[in-house]
Amino acid sequence: MTILDFPFMQRALLAALLVGMTAPAVGVYLVQRRQAFMGDGIGHVALTGVGLGFLLSTSPVLTAVLTASVGAVLIELIRERSRVSGDVALSVLFYGGIAGGVMLINLAPEGSNANLQSYLFGSLTSVSPEDIRVITILAVAVLAVTLGLRRALFTVCQDEDFARVTGLPVRALNLLLAVTAAVTVTVAMRVVGLLLVSALMVVPVAVAQQLSRTFSMTAALAIVVGVLVSVSGTALTYYVDAPPGATIVLLAIGLFVLVGVLATPLNRRRARRAEAAAGEVDPPRIDDVRVDAEVPGAGTMAGQAPSVVVRPAPIEEAPR
């Protein structure tokens, strides 16, 4: 008897595969514009949608998609309007999402802490054939947006001011990305749970960017890492009694640390070579310290990457 002989395991692995692909595909754009927290926020708001689903006795996935989308659009509008004081407004929205969800589930006739738990931390083995259909459709839509519009989304997330002046429909693209992130959160909710959704959006990207210099390579590697950890994590829980969501996220973080340690010499050499090339034309400047410190992912989880070496540029030493 192998792992694939059980229909519930087949469904769990398929769900894990889809989530492993979609979460980093969206996450890479969020990390690019230094909004790694966005997935967390949407996850919090989605909990209110889950509660609403219990209260109305409809599919919690459906109400979660709708609520999370509304929440994501709100988050995007707050971000667009107030770049300085937006974080407080966002925090209020996030706490409201969690509190509202807990309250609504408590009010619902069939609601219980067990239900709450399965949405907060995932409940992969209870994925039904109906769930799989919904997850597949949503995942295809997410991949169509994130891969099909990758150049436009890259341009907007790289430099929003510049993107506005190109005539790109920046606001429409931002809202589309927000809704896509919301859909991804709800898709991933069954696998890793709302509280860990963001990890699957961010950590694979953090792993990938330690190994890559280009955006397209980072995105591709992040998807590979996402699939790798979610499928292997799910398979692992068949043999070991462990919660799948936590297993997947811990695997991802383990990989992040491992790659960080292994990639440090590589990145150091690469940085030194780049500095040497830069040194040929540039006099040493105070700024060089700052530019260096903004190596991929400052302000994101990767900002704490062991491989990110913050130090002034030693212009003189040019190894070769």
Binding site: F162, R213, T214, R285
Partner: protein, 258 residues
């Protein structure tokens, strides 16, 4: 340049405020085809805000903008404008290569899916123009400040813009990048394309500037030939005089940079 042609950009009686504080107080500005216009002024004089209103990043509270003869609200031809924002770094939260960043300059409201073969040639040409073709595959985060600035200029040049707008492109860049910038201005001039650039001081670019507009407290206080160097601008090496109505003299002055 003597025939009357539609200005590429025109601001009439422009007013704008930031956070309730008036920054522009009735500014008139015209940029004609093929003209290189420098926007000068002290910190806080409103020069950055002025270019940001022209490209729609800061809303006008009064006055009108016309781009290529079209009122701002009806203007859609953004592919004719190249914008170099004021940045200390071109990097975002995820690694990106020089080529990826420059290629993002090719998109506009009608092209959401990126460059074809033709676009790739435009990217190569822009990379050549700023001397970064050999670094195309490198990550931008590892470049020096001046090199990152050149990548941002290439991103705007990839659009082959009829109006190139640059916000403080000289801030903290090295000598090589200054030369690239000068070459860019010259290239635009030769192709009859206009440039509007915000500068803290004219410095070595002076011979390439057709006209200088000086802002003081949100008003235009000078619009004409580049002003004679005074005060801190009158540094050694900058005390030369250029008769700017004389073309040959201007071209002779370029030797300074090459």
């Amino acid at each position: 340049m003597t025939e009357p042609r539609t200005p590429v950009a025109r601001l009439i009686g422009g007013t704008a405020s930031l956070g309730g504080r008036p920054v522009l107080r009735g500014v008139d500005l015209t940029v004609r085809p093929g003209e290189v216009v420098a926007l000068l002024g002290a910190n806080g004089s409103g020069k950055s805000t002025l270019v940001r209103t022209l490209v729609g990043l800061v809303p006008l509270t009064g006055g009108t903008i016309e781009l290529f003869g079209t009122p701002f609200a009806r203007f859609r031809d953004w592919s004719r404008i190249g914008y170099v924002p004021q940045r200390t770094t071109a990097a975002a939260g995820v690694p990106a290569s020089v080529r990826e960043v420059v290629a993002s300059g090719l998109l506009d409201g009608r092209r959401l899916f990126g460059p074809g073969r033709e676009g790739r040639a435009a990217v190569d040409a822009a990379l050549d123009a700023v001397g970064m073709r050999d670094r195309a595959r490198d990550g931008i985060a590892h470049l020096s400040g001046g090199q990152q600035q050149r990548v941002l200029i290439a991103r705007a040049l990839a659009r082959r813009p009829d109006l190139l707008i640059m916000d403080e492109p000289m801030a903290g860049v090295d000598l090589r990048s200054q030369e690239v910038l000068a070459g860019t201005l010259r290239g635009q001039q030769e192709q009859g394309r206009a440039v509007l650039l915000v500068l803290h001081e004219l410095g070595p670019l002076e011979p390439l500037i057709d006209r200088a507009v000086v802002l003081r407290e949100g008003c235009v206080c000078h619009d004409g030939p580049p002003p004679r160097a005074v005060g801190q601008h009158a540094l050694p090496g900058h005390d030369h005089v250029h008769p700017h109505d004389d073309h040959t003299a201007r071209h002779a002055g370029m030797g300074l940079l090459s």
